[in-house]
Amino acid sequence: MAATALQSQFSTRPISCFSFNADRSKVALSLNDPVIYIFKHTGAGKWAKTDELREHTGKVTGVSWAPKSNQIVSCGADRNAYVWKQNNEGVWKQVMVLIRVQRGAITVKWSPQENKFAIGTAARLISICYYEASNDWWVCKHIKKPIRSSVLSLSWHPNNILLAAGTSDFKCRVFSTYLKEIEEKPAATSWGKKMSFANLMGEFGTGVGGWIHGCSFSDDGERLAFIGHDSTVSFVQGGMESSIATKTQFLPFTDCTWISPNAVVAVGFDCNPMVFNLQGPGFFFSNKCDDSDKKSGGSVLSGRAMFQAMDRMASSTSSETIKTKHKNTILSVSRTADGFATGGADGQIIQWNVNALASKFSSMKL
């Protein structure tokens, strides 16, 4: 039976953002500083550093690796974004991107066809960037209305036009990013017919809940899931008037992604990926992917630690150690060919295999 998880420790510092290349032989990541590191997989969860991309002057907040064209786009708190391409000698060189924002960038995602990318910023707008060959740079158009706060998360629809954005004004919105300069007019979808640039196709969320940290379109684009800081997971189907929120008993989530047409995995402050199945109108909790906390707890402490524990928690055995694989908050999750990969504040990237998980947890229905 295949292992459920492949752990890789990159650093003691948090992995603020990461992105695999097409076959997961390489990963581009940032450790909460202005540098982007590229690592190559040398086997059995071990990685060797191959490149350091140093151009940002502020923290790198988002990284995305385009699988087909092998380009990396990065965005940072220094209000800049760069597209990196490998030249013939294998050296990564940056191409200028003009995103024209007055505040830091928060997240970036390549579109499915890799001819444009979207950047969510703290300037209450989304920058949609496309390539202009005449000057060899990427230029952008802005989506502003009716976003009222920072854009925290983005997710592309497979038709390369629709974009979901979760913002800190407690709503998740679907916009059209149709650019007549680079693409054909799109066909109508279940999210609406009119698809001029920056048209709001739908606005979801109660508006009185928590910040929307993560959102994700399903593979066919018919379904949208998003997670809020009020510990909720919400579901919308294309054509629905409003979303259906499921309140959970866990700590808030930071990111989510669909792993099958009916199941979503959400990660967050519980350091444990949680699977939610779509049953009836909304999501239902299925299982935690990491069951290490079932082991018997507590080892006897000695000396000073024992008195500290008695003082703090009225017990003389240690329950301090975190028993999940991730030892700190999981900051992001991304879809991989056989499951999903999580990056955490403990400096680990763990690649999970959904088939192995489904055979281990019977309640998990893919």
Binding site: S149, V208, G210, D230, K247, F250, L251, P252
Partner: protein, 150 residues
């Protein structure tokens, strides 16, 4: 001599409200003004704390801006909570729906802030423990994150 006699009240103005896209919560007033004191009291006197609690959790005034309404509502709920004997707490918690548990958690934290006597606090802490076991950390997170607060 060194302190100016001019008013410094200008420093207390929230300057952000004058910005063109100042964010204001979109809380829709649903008309809830707090539980019915008489109904709750009659259930308590009749020795039915579970029903008293159910009634006390209705019409929670989360959508109004009036602190007095919220304070009165919290006091009614505290009365319903303290009328429970220790053994009656668990069955009451089990009988509540998830939404009612969320509202109860909001009331418990509101009651904590109202500076009650030690017996009430002990009772509130017991309630907090039981509700937390049932509804998890998510209920506490929603007390903090929900814009419709008590």
């Amino acid at each position: 001599m060194t302190t100016s006699s001019l008013s410094r009240d200008f420093r207390k103005i929230n300057i952000e409200q004058y910005e063109e896209d100042f964010y204001e919560d979109e809380i829709v007033d649903n008309g809830a003004r707090g539980p019915d004191m008489n109904q709750v009291q009659s259930f308590i006197s009749a020795g039915k704390p579970q029903d008293a609690l159910k009634v006390a959790l209705q019409n929670a005034p989360t959508c109004v801006n009036n602190p007095q309404t919220k304070k009165t509502a919290a006091e009614i709920v505290v009365r319903a909570l303290t009328s429970h004997k220790n053994s009656q707490i668990q069955p009451s918690v089990d009988s509540l729906t998830p939404d009612e548990l969320d509202i109860l958690m909001k009331y418990i934290y509101k009651a904590f802030s109202l500076n009650q006597d030690s017996n009430t606090c002990a009772s509130l802490l017991q309630w907090h423990d039981k509700v937390h076991t049932k509804a998890g950390s998510g209920a506490i997170v929603r007390v903090l994150a929900d814009r419709e607060r008590l």
